[in-house]
Symmetry: C2
Subunit: 272 residues, 2 copies
Amino acid sequence: MDKFRRNERMSAMMKILSDNPNKIFTLSYFCEMFGAAKSTMSEDIDILRDMVKSFGLGELETVTGAAGGVRYRSVISRKEALTYITELCEKLSGSARVLPGGFLYYSDILSDPEIVKKMGQIIAGEYYHTEPDFVLTMETKGIPVALMTANALGVPLVIARHSSKVYEGPAVNINYVSGTSKSIETMSLSRRAVKEGQKALIVDDFLKGGGTAQAMVDLMREFSVEVVGVAFTMATEEPVKKCVTGEKSLMTMHLDHETNVATIRPADWLKA
Amino acid sequence: MDKFRRNERMSAMMKILSDNPNKIFTLSYFCEMFGAAKSTMSEDIDILRDMVKSFGLGELETVTGAAGGVRYRSVISRKEALTYITELCEKLSGSARVLPGGFLYYSDILSDPEIVKKMGQIIAGEYYHTEPDFVLTMETKGIPVALMTANALGVPLVIARHSSKVYEGPAVNINYVSGTSKSIETMSLSRRAVKEGQKALIVDDFLKGGGTAQAMVDLMREFSVEVVGVAFTMATEEPVKKCVTGEKSLMTMHLDHETNVATIRPADWLKA
């Protein structure tokens, strides 16, 4: 007789898989944990896969082969993502959040765990197939969403700094022209942070000209790291032409400079 | 007849509760979702509570009263926390991570989603009873662990900056003497970020003299916010006397300046 009931096994398994997104667990791992036969566990997983799907709670996949097993991904359907981002856009639009100089205040949104978790899941969903080894961001405002993207992908986060710090050890520094301020800025990354030949997904909060994003791409080249994608929480409508190419943003901002009203819309690719 | 089986209801409920830590869900919410009777859902929750407990997967609590319902907290037992932190200490100890000037390189640890999630859960577990309204950190290295602590507590994260930024709007700035460099530093927080009368939990990466931590406490006083706790991932053994009081750190660092070997130990309170 099995030591645990199916409902206990399934809910424990759901919790463990969901806490470790994109990580492959072998069938044996769960057999041992629950003292159950492989056939029993296979059945549990089949039911769990259907449940996850029918409740829109992500994706449970069986991976075959030598390193095979079962893997959970917090994938959000395009429809649900669009609904979520549309609601967020409504919250951000208007004049209440427009600051002097035409800047949008949304630091509160960018450090709300629930919101950045969802944004991170949406971004991760677009890049699972590129199999990045880490997520790269530039301090400071993009860190929470980049961390949650890394979490969903099951990879580490790497944070580039504005200047080299004593506690980061030897670092590679590059200078670049910021698209926003047109001033010369420095970007620094610890030599220990990444390894040659790895793949990076760049995630940051805001895209205007793209100077910072392009600098991150250049920085990765210095480390012989391939950039598999560039994603932002928000991009400005102007300038239309950005320094960086192939980028994906969740939201697009248009600012009316006469009325100081911001119109934030979900990005077009979310509607496809 | 019920629309879903118990194992489906329980695993879906586990996923939803675990994705929204410290948030109270009413019984009616789940009754409606699953088209099940209250008595059925109560039974589901009872079994789930026992499962969560026996597998050491946190705590499921039934909250009575008008705003009652069921709530999940990712509480980690003291024993498991001590084991986890001890392993982390072993990873960090030695000479490989000691940089010139006696600094410890552990930025990789501080931005690993899996590790900061666990550290955040351990810290949150110590402060649930203080019911903070938000977690406060100072940029940059403490952001990931502070975000995960905020996530476990189900509250927002607020990030203080080194200087006021145009996109943060009107801000309160304070100057303080950094314990590490003995230089005058500035700390800035947007006026929109917090509200008078709220309660803050301060979470940061590293405690040496405590100058920055004390500045965060002072900053909260400017906002008429009560500080309910101060937590760090690591504290140095020297100086024994810190500027800040009542703080909790997960690890303690001793650095032998002659051999450049770092000895990192779990904090004493974890052994209690």
